[in-house]
C-alpha cells in the first residue's frame, strides 16, 4: 500500500548541507502496523512528515496505493491528507473552541463527498463510543484529561476512513497509564478499522505493540527483527 524508495532529505544551513535522511526504503502492506524508533534528532518526525505530505523529500519516491505523492501540488496533497491519511501528534492539537464531537468532525469540512460527510456524525459517535468517550460528546477539550484528548485526536484522525494512520510520539505527553491505554487503542483500531499504522516513538513499550519495528539510524531505516 505504501512504498518509500530511496527517500533522501537534506537542509542547507550556513555551515553547509545537513543530511537528515540518506536512503530510506520502506514498504507497508494494508492493515500492517510499524513503529519507527531512534534517538532524538535522527529524523523520525521528518520521515513521518514526508510520508504524511507535510514535507517534501529532497529525493526519492513515495507511493500510496501506487500513486506517486512526490509530484503532487499543494491542493492535491491537502486532499490526500484529508481523505487517505490520518495524523496523531504528540500534542492533541484539538480546537479548544469546539466540542469533542465537533473536533472529530472538523476533517469532514473539506470533503466533497456529501454521503461521506452526512454519515460522518454517526461514525464519529460510534468511534467515540468505541474509545470510551461516548458520554463526552459535548465536552470541550479543556474539560478532558490528557489521555482523553489524545483519544479524541485518534478518532479525529480516523473519521474520514484513512488508509494510513501516522502517529508522531502519540504518547509523548501522556502519563504511563494513559500511554499504555492509548497504545492498546491504536493497536485495536488498527485491527478493527483495517487502517495501516506508522508510529514514531521513543517508547519501546508502544513500539513493541506494532507488527514491525524499524530504527532510523544514519539516515536509513533498519528493521529490528527481534522486536517481538
Amino acid at each position: 500500500m505504501l512504498s518509500l524508495a530511496e527517500i533522501t532529505k537534506h537542509y542547507d544551513s550556513g555551515a553547509g548541507k545537513v543530511e537528515v535522511l540518506a536512503r530510506v526504503n520502506l514498504t507497508l502492506a494494508a492493515g500492517e502496523s510499524l513503529a519507527i524508533v531512534g534517538p532524538s534528532g535522527c529524523g523520525k518526525s521528518t520521515l513521518l512528515n514526508i510520508i504524511g505530505t507535510l514535507d517534501r523529500p529532497s529525493g526519492g519516491r513515495i507511493e500510496l496505493d501506487g500513486r506517486d505523492l512526490t509530484g503532487l501540488d499543494e491542493v492535491a496533497m491537502a486532499g490526500v491528507r484529508n481523505r487517505e491519511l490520518g495524523f496523531v501528534f504528540q500534542s492533541h492539537h484539538l480546537l479548544p473552541q469546539c466540542t469533542v464531537l465537533e473536533n472529530v468532525l472538523v476533517p469532514t469540512l473539506p470533503l466533497a463527498d456529501v454521503a461521506l460527510r452526512d454519515s460522518a456524525p454517526g461514525r464519529a459517535r460510534q468511534l467515540l463510543e468505541k474509545v470510551g468517550l461516548g458520554g463526552r460528546l459535548g465536552h470541550r477539550p479543556g474539560q478532558l484529561s490528557g489521555g482523553e484528548r489524545q483519544r479524541v485526536a485518534v478518532v479525529r484522525a480516523l473519521i474520514n476512513r484513512p488508509k494510513l494512520l501516522l502517529a508522531d510520539e502519540p504518547t509523548g505527553a501522556l502519563d504511563r497509564s494513559s500511554a499504555a491505554n492509548l497504545g492498546e487503542l491504536l493497536v485495536r483500531l488498527n485491527a478493527e478499522e483495517g487502517v495501516s499504522l506508522i508510529v514514531v516513538t521513543h517508547a519501546l513499550e508502544l513500539a513493541k505493540q506494532m507488527k514491525r519495528v524499524f530504527e532510523l539510524r544514519d539516515g536509513a531505516l533498519h528493521e529490528l527483527v527481534d522486536s517481538h
Binding site: 512528515n49 501528534f89 469532514t108 456524525p121
Partner: protein, 1113 residues
C-alpha cells in the same frame, strides 16, 4: 439527529472562544468605522443644516421676481395670484444702513423690506406680524442683536431713494439720494417667521428690517409700487407659468411707461419716468403696428457760435415734422430765439457742449459742431415744450433758480433772457438735429430715445389701448427686469451641492482611519498568530491554505461587521464632537454656529457598509500571508519569526534607499534654489521623498542587523536593538506608521496661508492694497478726483497719497470659501482692467491658453469686443471673467475654461467664461469682468460698491477712518486688506488645524499600536525573558532591554518623520503662522503617549511569574 459540523459552526465557535483576543481588533474596526461614518454624517449635518437654512430663508416661496430699481404696480400681484392659484405677495426691497439713535451701534448691508400681510402668510407667520403699523419696524434676530435693539427701541434706517434717472447719470441730481427713516421696533422676527428671508444663498443670515409696504411706498414717493413679487409654493408651478401670468396682466405702468395724449396735439406720446426708453421698449414701440416717431431730447451745457453762447438748453433729435428728411446729420435747425441770441443764419457753425454718459459720474464734457441748416419759428411742432423728458430736478422747476442745486450747472451763467425763456417756454428745445446725429452723441446705456410719438386722430383712447396692447405684447417683461427666478429650487440646489463636508472630514480623518485600521490589522494578525498551531492542525487535517484563510477571513468579516455596528454609535458621537468643534474652535471655517446634527439613514447604512468593507479588506490584507507556512512550521513553537533577508533583497533595499535619497536631495536643492517662488508642494514632495528614503534605509539597517553574525560586546541595549529585527516587518510597520504620522502632522502646516507675508507687494493676495471695503449704497462719484472728494466733504490732505480703485457690483451669490453653499450665480464685479493691468496687481495661478500668461488682465478685454455697442450682440456671447482660484474651485465647482450662465438687465442670457484664476486673494467670492462690458450688460447697476484703497501702510487706519466717516450714509465699511485675506485664509488654516488635530489623534492611536506590538513581542518571548531572569538578570534590566527595543522604534519613527517634515516646512519657516506651539504639543503628546504605552506594556508583560513560561520552554 445532531447537527453536522459545518463552516459556520466552526466560525461562530472560534469567534466566541477567541472573543477576548478579538476584542482589540473589533475595537479597531469600530474606531475605523466610527470615524468613517462620523465623517459621512458630518456631510449630512452640514447639508441638512444648509437645507434647513435655505428653507428658512425662502419659507413658502417658490418663485421670486426682484426687479431692483424698476418698480411695477403692487396690484400686479393680485392678478398673478389669481392666474397661478397660489399666494403671491408684493413687496419692496431696498438696501440701506441701520443705526441706533444714540449711534452706539450700526449695521450696513441691511435689506429694508416693505411687506404686506401676504408676505408673512408665505411663512404661515401672519398673526402679530401682519399687524405691523406705519412707523414700526420688525427686525430679524441678527439685526436686532447687531443694534442691540428690542421692541420699543427706536432705530434709524437710511435707504436709497429710487430715482427714475440713474443717479450715476451726469445730469442727475444728487440731493436726496438717500432717505432717512426713524422707526420704532415692534418685534424681533424669528427664523421660522421669515427672519432669514433672502434671495441669496448663504449660511450667514442677512440683516433684515421689515416695514409695512404702504408706509414705505409713501416714504419713498412710490405709492402703489413694488419691486418684489414672491410666489408661494404650489405643485407643478414653474417660473415660465409665472412669467406668462405677468405677461398676461401687465400694463405699461409695470414697465414704468406712460402713453399720454399730448395736450393741444393729436398725438400720443410714449415716455418713461426713467427719462430714457430702454432699448427693448424702443424696439417694441417702433416695430408696433402704428408707426411711431422717435424722439431723443438731451440737455446740453452750451450752444456756442464764436464768442456768443447760450447756456443749458434742450436739443432734440427727431425727424418730421420738425426736421426735414433732406437735412444732413451734420446740420442743425435752430429756433428763432437761439438764432437771435447767437446771431445765427443758415450755414453758420454751432458748437454743442454736453456731458457724456460714460462710465461713472465723471463730468466729462464733450462737444460737437453742426452747420445751421436753417432757422425755424418758435411755433407749431417746434415750440413743443413736451419734447423735454422728465429730467429730475429740472422738469418741475418754475424757474431756473429752482433747478436742483446739486445739478452740475453753474447757475451764475444763466442770464435773465435764459430765465425768461424758461418761464415762457420751459424746456422747449432751442435746436434740432437728425435722429441719427442725436443718437450718435447721446445714446447711452440707459437708452437711445426719450419718447415715441404716435398720430392719434379722433379716437385717441381706442388707439391708446391698441398701441399699449400691441407694445406690451411685443415686449418681454424680462427685458425690463420683470423676471421670475425659481428661488426655492436654487436654494435647495445651493444646499445640496454645497461644500462636501463628508469628503472633507473623510480627508481630515484619513490618518485616524488608517491608524485605526492598522491597529485592527495588527491586533487581528496577533490573534491569528496565537492560533498558528490551530492553522497548522487544519492544514495537517487536509484543509487547503485557501480554505483556512477563508475561514479566518469570515471570522474577520464578522468582526468587521460587528465593529461597524458599534461604529454606528461611535460615528454619531464622533460627528457630534466634530460639529461641536466646527461651531466653536473651528468656527472660522464655516462662519456660523447654526450647524445642527443630521443623519440620513442611507448615510448610516452606507457608512456602516463602507466601514465593514474597509475593515474586511484590511483583514484580507493581514491574512494574505497566513497559512502560507507549512503545517509543520506552524505546529512548531517558533512560528512567525522573520528570516533575515536574502543577499539580493538586501542589495535591492540599499539601491532603493540610495535612489530615493538622491531624488530627495535633488528635489530639495531645486526647491531651495527657487525658494522665493517655489510652490510649497515642491518642498512637501521633497520631504515625502526623504521620508520614503528614511524608511527604506531603516529597512536595510534592520535587514543587515538580522544577518550579522556576531554582536560584538553583548549589552542589554544591544540585545534589545537586535530584537527589533526578529519581527522585522512588524517593526518596520510600526516605524512607518509613526514616521508617516509625524511627517504629515508636522509638514501639513506648510500649506498654512499667511495674509501678512508680502502684503505690500502688488503680486500678493492683497494686490498691494492697504484697504478693501464695500458700501451698502452705491458711490457714484470718483473719489480720486477733486470734485468727487468735494462732494463727500473730503479734504485733499485727508486722502493724500491714497488712491481708490472702485468696482461695480452685480449682486449674486457669495462665492468665497466663507459660503458653504454652492454659488449658483456668483456676484459679478465690473473692474477697470487697464488700471489692474498697469498695476500688475495680484498673481494669476492659472490662465486660459498661453497667450494670456504675459498680460493676464488683458484677457478681460475681450469683453468689450464681445459685448459690442449694441446690446443685442451680447446675446449668445461670452464674457471673459477672472476669479479667485479658491472661489472657482470650491465655491463654484468650476475650473479655468468653464462657463457660467447669467442673464443681463434685459433678461437676455449670456455666458461668463472663466479665463483666469487669481492665486489666494482678497477678491474671493466674485467673478471679475471688464467694467465696460459690465455697464453694457447691467446699465441699471448704479455706481460703485466695492473699493480697494492704496495708501501708505502707516496711513491706512487714518484713511479708513476718514473715508468711512465721509461715506457713512453710503454705509462704507473698510477693512485692512490683510485682515480680509486672513479671514479667507482662516478657512484653509482652520481646515489644516482640523487635519492636524485629527491626524494627531491618529498618531496617538498609532502609538497605542506601538504598545500593542510591544506587548505581543514580549508575550511571545516570555520564556526567553524568563531565562534571562533565571540566569541572574535583574527585572529592571530586562525591562530596560524591552524598553530600549521599542523606544528605539518610537524615536526612529519620530526622527525620520520630523527630519523629512523639516525639509517640507522650509517655505513656512519665515512665516509667523507656523503653529510651533500646537505642533510641539501634538508631537510631545505622541512621544508621551508612545513612552507611556511602551513603558506600561513592558511593565504589564513582565509582571507576574515568568517561571512557568520557562518550564514550558
Amino acid at each position: 439527529m445532531e447537527r453536522c459540523m459545518n463552516w459556520w459552526i466552526l466560525i461562530s465557535r472560534s469567534l466566541r472562544f477567541h472573543a477576548k483576543s478579538h476584542l482589540g481588533a473589533g475595537l479597531g474596526a469600530a474606531i475605523g468605522s466610527a470615524v468613517l461614518i462620523g465623517a459621512l454624517v458630518m456631510g449630512d449635518s452640514v447639508r441638512g443644516s444648509l437645507r434647513g437654512m435655505a428653507l428658512a430663508r425662502v419659507q413658502g416661496i417658490e418663485l421670486a421676481l426682484a426687479s431692483e430699481d424698476r418698480f411695477f404696480r403692487a396690484a400686479l400681484a393680485d392678478a398673478v395670484a389669481e392666474d397661478l392659484a397660489t399666494k403671491v405677495a408684493p413687496g419692496m426691497q431696498v438696501l440701506g444702513t441701520a443705526s441706533r439713535t444714540d449711534a452706539a451701534a450700526r449695521a450696513n448691508q441691511v435689506q429694508v423690506l416693505g411687506v404686506t400681510p401676504e408676505f408673512w402668510a408665505l411663512a404661515d407667520a401672519a398673526g402679530e406680524l401682519a399687524g405691523l403699523r406705519g412707523g414700526e419696524v420688525a427686525l430679524n434676530r441678527r439685526l436686532a442683536e447687531q443694534l442691540n435693539a428690542g421692541p420699543g427701541d427706536v432705530v434709524l434706517l437710511r435707504v436709497t431713494r429710487p430715482s427714475g434717472l440713474s443717479r450715476e447719470a451726469a445730469i442727475a441730481p444728487q440731493e436726496d439720494a438717500t432717505q432717512s427713516l426713524r422707526l420704532q421696533v415692534a418685534r424681533v422676527v424669528g427664523d421660522a417667521e421669515m427672519g432669514r428671508f433672502s434671495l441669496r444663498a448663504s449660511q450667514i443670515p442677512p440683516f433684515n428690517a421689515f416695514v409695512p409696504l404702504g408706509w414705505l411706498q409713501e416714504a419713498l414717493d412710490l405709492a402703489g409700487r413694488a419691486n418684489l413679487l414672491l410666489v408661494g409654493t404650489r405643485e407643478g408651478l414653474s417660473a415660465a407659468a409665472a412669467q406668462a401670468a405677468v405677461k398676461a396682466h401687465w400694463q405699461l405702468a409695470d414697465a414704468e411707461l406712460e402713453l399720454r395724449e399730448l395736450p393741444g396735439t393729436d398725438e400720443l406720446e410714449l415716455r418713461t419716468g426713467r427719462v430714457f426708453l430702454d432699448e427693448a421698449v424702443t424696439e417694441a414701440s417702433l416695430g408696433a403696428r402704428s408707426a411711431g416717431r422717435a424722439i431723443l431730447t438731451y440737455f446740453v451745457n452750451e450752444l456756442r457760435a464764436g464768442e456768443r453762447y447760450t447756456p443749458y438748453s434742450m436739443v432734440t433729435a427727431m425727424g418730421a415734422p420738425v426736421v426735414p428728411a433732406e437735412m444732413g446729420d451734420e446740420e442743425i435747425l435752430v429756433n428763432e430765439w437761439l438764432a437771435e441770441d447767437l446771431r445765427l443764419k443758415a450755414g453758420d457753425i454751432v458748437e454743442l457742449r454736453y456731458f457724456t454718459m460714460g462710465l461713472g459720474r465723471g463730468l466729462e464734457e464733450a462737444q460737437a459742431r453742426f452747420r445751421v441748416h436753417g432757422v425755424i419759428p418758435l411755433s407749431g411742432a417746434a415750440a413743443d415744450r413736451e419734447l423735454m423728458p422728465g429730467f429730475p430736478g429740472i422738469e418741475q422747476a418754475e424757474s431756473t433758480r429752482d433747478w436742483d442745486p446739486s445739478l452740475p450747472v453753474e447757475l451764475s451763467r444763466i442770464r435773465p433772457k435764459d430765465e425768461r425763456y424758461w418761464e415762457e417756454h420751459r424746456g422747449t428745445p432751442k435746436a434740432f438735429v437728425t435722429l441719427a446725429a442725436g443718437q450718435r452723441l447721446w445714446a447711452n446705456r440707459y437708452g437711445n430715445l426719450t419718447a415715441v410719438r404716435y398720430p392719434a386722430g379722433a379716437s385717441a383712447s381706442d388707439l391708446s389701448a391698441g398701441i399699449a396692447g400691441d407694445l406690451l405684447a411685443r415686449l418681454d417683461p424680462a427685458a425690463v427686469g420683470l423676471r421670475f427666478e425659481s428661488v426655492r429650487q436654487q436654494a435647495l440646489a445651493a444646499a445640496a451641492e454645497s461644500q462636501d463636508f463628508g469628503g472633507l472630514f473623510l480627508g481630515f480623518s484619513f490618518f485616524l482611519v488608517v491608524a485605526a485600521l492598522l491597529l485592527m490589522a495588527l491586533l487581528f494578525q496577533f490573534a491569528i498568530e496565537q492560533r498558528s498551531a490551530e492553522v497548522g492542525t487544519m492544514l495537517a487535517l487536509g484543509f487547503t491554505p485557501r480554505q483556512v484563510r477563508r475561514l479566518l477571513w469570515c471570522e474577520g468579516g464578522a468582526l468587521a461587521a460587528l465593529g461597524s455596528v458599534i461604529g454606528l454609535l461611535g460615528g454619531v458621537v464622533y460627528a457630534r464632537l466634530m460639529l461641536a468643534g466646527l461651531t466653536t474652535i473651528w468656527r472660522d471655517a464655516v462662519g456660523t454656529s447654526a450647524l445642527t446634527f443630521h443623519a440620513e439613514p442611507a448615510t448610516l447604512v452606507i457608512g456602516a457598509l463602507a466601514g465593514t468593507v474597509v475593515a474586511w479588506a484590511t483583514v484580507a490584507l493581514a491574512l494574505r500571508r497566513q497559512a502560507r507556512q507549512p503545517a509543520r512550521e506552524l505546529l512548531a513553537e517558533s512560528a512567525g519569526e522573520d528570516q533575515a533577508p536574502s543577499v539580493a533583497a538586501g542589495v535591492r533595499g540599499v539601491w532603493l534607499a540610495l535612489g530615493l535619497s538622491v531624488m530627495a536631495a535633488g528635489l530639495t536643492a531645486f526647491a531651495l534654489a527657487r525658494v522665493q517662488e517655489a510652490n510649497p508642494g515642491l518642498f512637501f514632495g521633497a520631504g515625502a521623498l526623504w521620508l520614503m528614503a528614511g524608511l527604506a534605509a531603516g529597512s536595510v539597517w534592520m535587514g543587515r542587523l538580522a544577518a550579522r553574525e556576531g554582536a560584538g560586546r553583548l549589552t542589554l541595549w544591544g540585545m534589545g536593538i537586535r530584537n527589533v529585527t526578529r519581527r522585522r516587518r512588524r517593526s518596520l510597520a510600526t516605524l512607518g506608521l509613526l514616521a508617516c504620522g509625524s511627517f504629515l502632522i508636522a509638514s501639513i502646516g506648510v500649506f498654512r496661508l499667511d495674509a501678512v507675508r508680502d502684503a505690500d507687494r502688488r503680486s500678493s493676495g492683497t494686490g498691494g492694497y492697504a484697504l478693501v471695503g464695500e458700501s451698502t449704497l452705491p458711490v457714484v462719484h470718483d473719489l480720486n478726483t477733486a470734485t468727487g472728494r468735494e462732494f463727500y466733504a473730503l479734504e485733499e490732505a485727508d486722502l493724500a497719497e491714497a488712491e481708490v480703485l472702485a468696482f461695480r457690483v452685480r449682486d449674486g451669490d457669495d462665492a468665497s470659501c466663507l459660503n458653504l453653499n454652492r454659488a449658483q450665480q456668483p456676484r459679478l464685479l465690473g473692474v477697470p482692467t487697464a488700471k489692474l493691468a498697469a498695476r500688475g496687481a495680484f498673481t494669476f495661478a492659472k490662465v486660459a491658453g498661453d497667450s494670456g500668461e504675459e498680460h493676464p488682465w488683458e484677457l478681460l478685454r475681450g469683453a468689450a469686443d464681445n459685448a459690442g455697442d449694441s446690446g443685442a450682440a451680447v446675446s449668445g456671447r461670452e464674457i471673459p471673467a477672472v476669479g479667485d482660484v479658491n472661489s472657482i474651485v470650491w465655491a463654484m465647482g468650476k475650473k479655468v475654461g468653464d462657463t457660467l450662465d447669467y442673464v443681463d438687465d434685459r433678461g437676455r442670457p449670456f455666458r461668463v467664461r472663466i479665463v483666469g484664476a487669481l492665486a489666494n486673494s482678497i477678491l474671493q467670492g466674485s467673478l471679475l469682468i471688464d467694467e465696460e462690458a459690465f455697464v453694457r450688460l447691467f446699465p441699471s447697476e448704479v455706481g460703485y460698491r466695492m473699493f480697494l484703497v492704496d495708501a501708505p501702510s502707516k496711513d491706512a487706519d487714518r484713511v479708513a477712518g476718514t473715508l468711512s466717516r465721509a461715506l457713512v450714509d453710503e454705509g462704507l465699511e473698510l477693512t485692512p486688506a490683510t485682515r480680509r485675506l486672513a479671514q479667507f485664509n482662516a478657512v484653509q488654516n482652520t481646515y489644516l488645524s482640523t487635519f492636524q488635530v485629527l491626524g494627531g489623534l491618529g498618531l496617538v492611536l498609532g502609538s497605542v499600536g506601538l504598545g500593542v506590538v510591544l506587548m505581543r513581542n514580549v508575550f511571545e518571548r516570555r520564556g526567553e525573558l524568563a531565562l534571562l531572569l533565571a540566569v541572574g538578570y535583574r527585572p529592571s534590566g530586562v525591562r530596560w532591554m524591552v524598553l530600549s527595543e521599542h523606544g528605539l522604534l518610537l524615536l526612529a519613527g519620530l526622527v525620520v518623520g520630523l527630519a523629512a517634515a523639516a525639509v517640507a516646512v522650509v517655505p513656512s519657516i519665515r512665516s509667523s503662522e507656523l503653529p510651533y506651539a500646537s505642533l510641539g504639543l501634538t508631537l510631545a503628546a505622541v512621544l508621551a503617549s508612545g513612552v507611556l504605552w511602551t513603558w506600561g506594556a513592558s511593565r504589564w508583560s513582565l509582571r507576574g511569574e515568568l517561571l512557568p513560561a520557562l518550564r514550558r520552554e
